[in-house]
Amino acid sequence: MHEEVIFAGFGGQGVLLMGQLVTYAGMMEGRNVTWMPSYGPEMRGGTANCGVAVSEKEIASPLVSEPTSVVAMNRPSLEKFQGMVRPGGLIIYNSSLVDVKPARNDVRVVAVPANQIADEIGDVRVANMVALGAYLGVTGVVSVDTVLEAMKKVLPERRHGLIPLNQKAIARGMDIAAAALKAG
């Protein structure tokens, strides 16, 4: 197993957290992992992304230049990263905010109305967790249980109250993944 994924969106959508959870969970499952964020002033109100590698093998480059998956939470992110995905890879995009279809037909594409679902379950801020759930459901890179364990480590204690809602959001994302996998 060798997964290289980019999570991207605008600052405040929680894309760095998505990546950290996968990274932490990967480490807990005994895999090699790296996480590399974008940083600096462009983060303020601009775009944010992180590249994550999870692998059985030692990870050579921490820079993800040819991802196996991209999770795009907004349109600029989809446009920026879709061309980089390896053939046969995966694009998950937030169809609540992205009104175009990805331009690739050699990769699996899964549309996730992340904001809409997050809104339904009570807090639009967990849109990232919905998309994360879909990503976990399609790829199975790490198990949801480990991600929930990782959440306790990654989130500061004062935010642990959010874990049940996050769990619900991830479950909804998994449902979408299951439906997408069934549809082929």
């Binding site: 480490m27 996480w35 600096g40 050579a60 480059s61 921490p62 230049s65």
Partner: protein, 354 residues
């Protein structure tokens, strides 16, 4: 992976220093290493240490000079423009033989440059930087674990040689997270006591710490003694790693993060049946000249890859002379080479060179 924690390079370097007994930190904010002073501002009070945000890197590095004079284990960290401002204090510390650890999380220059990772401070770090005949020990880690281990060891080496030690990282290493084992590392037992420190002349003759020798004959003598120490450092502290160099036709030479990217290119090249190896200098001063010559003895080409327009490549040429072609590929300004670009270079060399 028992005992491993996931940490950002910048935070790991801060915790490593604390674990190695560093109790004084002076610094000034600059991207992409702000997590280090921020971590220290939380952590130092917990361990009874000193954290002080200086008014500038000029002041911060002279606070390091002061704390080192007082015999403390002391560190400062910055990124390229800030390290330029520290060169005066670094030269004074080298001249006065004061131990300290300086971490440079390099970003693209020159001038204000940018905030993405680069390796364009290699000359500054290894060929002087400040004025005078002096050398720092300079290490270029390529993983967060190595960053931690070398930082811890740097404090011992600084004390052992009474010389500033520099960790030359880059923004990628500082910003990335990777699992790391934080093994506690108490100071080595065989370190010489700091009898030279300015701690008050109670029951002993007074100590003077200075780099001033107005009499040129005395200054020359001082420099010759420093040079003798540099020779010892050079003989004892050469470090490097090799990967698949034994049968390699093309040997890549890269350090720090770039070595990891080169390694990814190597894997792809090997998949294609190309005999490619990697030589990774870990000590940048002393540069592993002889080891490099030995590791590339059977190769017909050497390809140096850097995040600069060619700085370490000069040391590689020094090591290899005209025994074989030394090629160079670099990206600069905060851009990094991709494995594919490096692979393309390898293929070009193999096709051209056969």
């Amino acid at each position: 992976m028992a005992g491993k924690v996931l940490m950002k390079g910048n935070e790991a370097v801060a915790e490593a220093a604390i674990m190695a007994g560093c109790r004084c930190f002076f610094g000034y904010p600059i991207t992409p290493q702000n997590e280090i002073p921020e971590y220290m501002s939380r952590r130092m009070p917990e361990v009874g240490g000193v954290f002080l945000q200086a008014e500038s890197e000029v002041a911060g590095s002279n606070m390091v000079y002061g704390a080192a004079c007082a015999g403390a284990r002391v560190m400062t960290t910055s990124s390229s423009p800030g390290i330029s401002l520290m060169q005066e204090a670094i030269s004074y510390m080298a001249g006065a033989e004061l131990p300290c650890v300086v971490v440079n999380i390099v970003r693209g220059g020159p001038g204000l440059g940018g905030i993405q990772g680069a390796q364009s401070d290699y000359f500054q770090a290894t060929k002087g930087g400040g004025h005078g005949d002096y050398h720092l020990l300079v290490f270029g880690p390529s993983t967060v674990q190595e960053l931690v281990d070398l930082t811890m060891e740097a404090f011992d080496l600084a004390d052992m040689y009474r010389n500033p030690v520099m960790i030359l990282g880059d923004a990628i290493l500082g910003q990335m997270m990777e699992p790391v084992e934080m093994r506690k590392r108490p100071p080595r037992a065989d370190l010489p006591p700091k009898t030279w420190a300015a701690t008050g002349a109670a029951g002993r003759p007074k100590n003077i710490i200075t780099s001033l020798y107005l009499d040129p004959a005395k200054l020359e003598k001082h420099n010759l003694r420093l040079a003798e120490k540099h020779r010892r450092m050079a003989a004892e502290q050469v470090r490097y790693a090799t990967h698949m160099t034994e049968d390699a036709d093309v040997v890549l030479v890269a350090y720090g993060t770039t070595a990891r990217i080169a390694r990814a290119a190597l894997d792809r090249a090997r998949e294609r049946g190309l005999r490619v190896g990697l030589f990774r200098p870990i000590s940048l001063w002393p540069f592993p000249y002889e080891a490099l010559a030995a590791a590339t003895a059977g190769a017909s080409h050497v390809l140096v890859v850097e995040m600069s327009l060619g700085q370490m490549v000069e040391d590689v040429r020094l090591a290899l002379g005209d025994t074989k072609p030394v090629h160079f590929y670099g990206r600069t300004g905060g851009m990094s080479p991709s494995p594919r670009e490096i692979l393309d270079e390898i293929v070009k060399i193999v096709e051209r060179g056969a």
